[in-house]
């Protein structure tokens, strides 16, 4: 079968199944059964599908996500989260959209340490969205910043994906990690700009309620009693990672433990809260991991059938100007990213894109950052970005697909703007590692 027929068949079947309302995970599994039958020689292909799922799920890299979810759920169900946000709300005074800014700053801080987009989205989503909705924020004011900062986890070090990319592309790991810092911070600033604009254009996007003026003593009491203890859990985890006490993957478990201990100290840990937290974390994990089960094989079918390599070869076969070539590669990454998981995408594209980038005269570190940005964007691109589904899992019941898509768009726009900035001013990425 020609690569375009294989591509059309695989993508067509999954799109159709999802459109008629089949659960996403089942749609992947159904498309896999069809694909395995055609490309992997019938029934034995289905056995391989199960073996793949087995390999995909017995993977240590999946450990942090449920634990970050658990951490966020405990924070929420014990009331610790509400307590902290009440305090921050009062401390920040009248600033419109203040919790949205807190989300960006907290998310950026969290991204720098977690290295896991899914974990970061899961934690912030379960922590912030219910709180902010209860306070009268419109959905996009909480969901948007979280989707945005979830992607930052890939760019701001430490980032497991950046290390893997550098290894595969044989570029300097340290330089690539350092090169991500400034673009990451620029992106966070762009996010802040979005929130500012959104609150200017629509004053009701964030609740305009008045808060009482506080004395300095009251402020200090709020800060010491309700904010610092919660933040100290995060700080202790960071110290633990920097000091070599634990790896970033292991940090999630200590985060959950830290919040449990905090809830005990604040005497708000009940069986009911614990049960709700476990069930909440379990629901999202199960939903996401069954999709992981299905999409792992789907990625492989795209590769094994020759569909994705055919697409890449075709797209890169045109003799275009360097900048147009860059756009072509970027588009291929975005397209694949809608259906494939990120590590497979890297394995597939790196051996072709990096040598091509070298012949076009691109700096490999700069190009590496562009690739990471494409991976980040594809994670939140409608309709299938995995972070969108994670967000749907943790957001309040009445959140619709539209809410999530609409929330994501301005932040995807920011990432696109950053790519444009990087093309115009490569120094944004290259200045810091060049020092």
């Amino acid at each position: 079968m020609e690569w375009y027929s294989a591509l059309a068949l695989l993508l067509g079947s999954i799109l159709l199944l999802m459109a008629i309302g089949m659960p996403v995970a089942l749609a992947f599994l159904a498309a896999n059964i069809v694909g395995a039958w055609i490309f992997m020689g019938g029934a034995k292909g289905i056995t391989l599908l199960l073996n793949n799922g087995f390999g995909g799920l017995t993977n240590y890299a999946l450990v942090p996500i449920p634990l970050f979810l658990l951490m966020g759920e405990i924070f929420f169900h014990t009331g610790l989260g509400a307590r902290m946000f009440n305090a921050i709300d009062k401390l920040l005074g009248k600033l419109p959209g203040r919790l949205s800014y807190v989300t960006v700053m907290g998310g950026t801080a969290f991204a720098t340490l977690s290295g896991s987009s899914m974990g970061s989205t899961a934690l912030l989503g379960s922590l912030m969205v219910p709180e902010m909705t209860a306070r009268g924020y419109k959905k996009h004011m909480s969901i948007g910043p979280i989707l945005g900062t979830g992607g930052l986890a890939i760019i701001i070090p430490p980032s497991a994906l950046a290390v893997l990319l550098a290894t595969l592309a044989k570029i300097d790991v340290g330089a690539l990690l350092i090169a991500g810092i400034v673009p990451g911070l620029v992106l966070a600033c762009l996010y802040i700009g979005v929130i500012f604009l959104q609150t200017k254009l629509d004053p009701h996007a964030a609740p305009p309620y008045e808060v009482e003026a506080l004395t300095f003593g009251q402020k200090m009491r709020l800060l010491m009693g309700d904010v610092l203890p919660m933040i100290s859990v995060m700080v202790l985890i960071v110290i633990g990672m920097v000091a070599g006490f634990m790896t970033p993957s292991e940090a999630a478990a200590f985060g959950a433990l830290g919040v449990l201990i905090l809830a005990l100290l604040f005497r708000c840990l009940t069986w009911e809260a614990m049960k709700k937290s476990v069930i909440g974390a379990l629901r999202v994990t199960l939903m996401a991991y069954l999709i992981v089960f299905g999409s792992a094989t789907f990625s492989q079918l795209l590769a094994f059938s020759g569909a994705s390599s055919g697409l890449i070869d075709w797209a890169t076969s045109f003799d275009l100007a360097p900048i147009a070539m860059l756009m072509v590669m970027f588009s291929v990454l975005l397209l694949l990213g809608m259906f494939m998981e990120q590590i497979s995408m890297m394995l597939l594209t790196v051996p072709i894109f990096f040598p091509l980038a070298a012949t076009l005269g691109f700096d490999p570190i700069w190009f590496g950052i562009i690739v990471l940005l494409a991976l980040e964007i594809s994670f939140t691109t409608p309709p299938f970005g995995l972070l969108l589904f994670v967000m749907k899992g943790v957001a309040p019941k009445d959140t619709t697909m539209r809410d999530i898509y609409v929330s994501a768009f301005p932040y995807i726009g920011c990432s696109m703007l950053l790519v444009a900035l990087l093309i115009a001013f490569p120094q944004i990425a290259l200045w810091l590692p060049g020092l």
Partner: protein
């Protein structure tokens, strides 16, 4: 009576999945503490957390079907008039049953093959693979039953409201 027993089994499996989540936390914390105390962390702590993810996902999945927790997108079903929506919704559920039956059947073959060939999963230990792959026929089998409730039962999987649903 059978229904009650079945429901108990379904929730028991979900309970085990919840326990696996707690186990993940416990095993990671224990091995980090042991390592930093200068002790040799038991290798089974690491391996068991990898296995726990598989058991958690597979054992909890049928319960999540009952809870309508697997996300789906409502476009077509939202645009259709109610009678047509019921037909499409039951049809989609039937397709899910078919997928699960196929996977349960191939999963049973895989599980039996693992026993017959004495296959081992090699990590820190050599572990009989069938103890892990037995999760497939059980999980997909129960998921097939749960989806069939949306084919034949009163309740529909789709609400008719546009959006992603869980």
């Amino acid at each position: 009576m059978i229904g009650k027993f079945y429901r108990g089994f379904l929730y028991l499996m979900a309970g085990v999945a919840g326990f696996m989540l707690i186990w993940l936390m416990f095993s990671v914390i224990t091995s980090v503490l042991m390592r930093n105390a200068g002790l040799q962390p038991f290798a089974w702590l690491f391996t068991s957390s990898e296995y726990a993810i598989l058991y958690m996902t597979m054992l909890g999945a049928p319960w999540l079907v009952r809870e309508k927790g697997h996300v789906h997108i409502e476009l077509v079903t939202a645009a259709l008039p109610a009678p047509a929506r019921r037909v499409v919704s039951r049809g989609v559920a039937a397709l899910c049953v078919l997928v699960c039956v196929i996977l349960a059947w191939k999963g049973a073959e895989l599980f039996l093959g693992n026993i017959a060939r004495n296959d081992l999963d090699v990590r820190a230990y050599y572990f009989p693979k069938w103890i892990l792959t037995i999760a497939f026929p059980v999980s997909f089998g129960l998921m097939a039953i749960e989806f069939s409730r949306f084919v034949f039962g009163k309740d529909l999987m789709h609400s008719g409201e546009a959006g992603i649903h869980e």
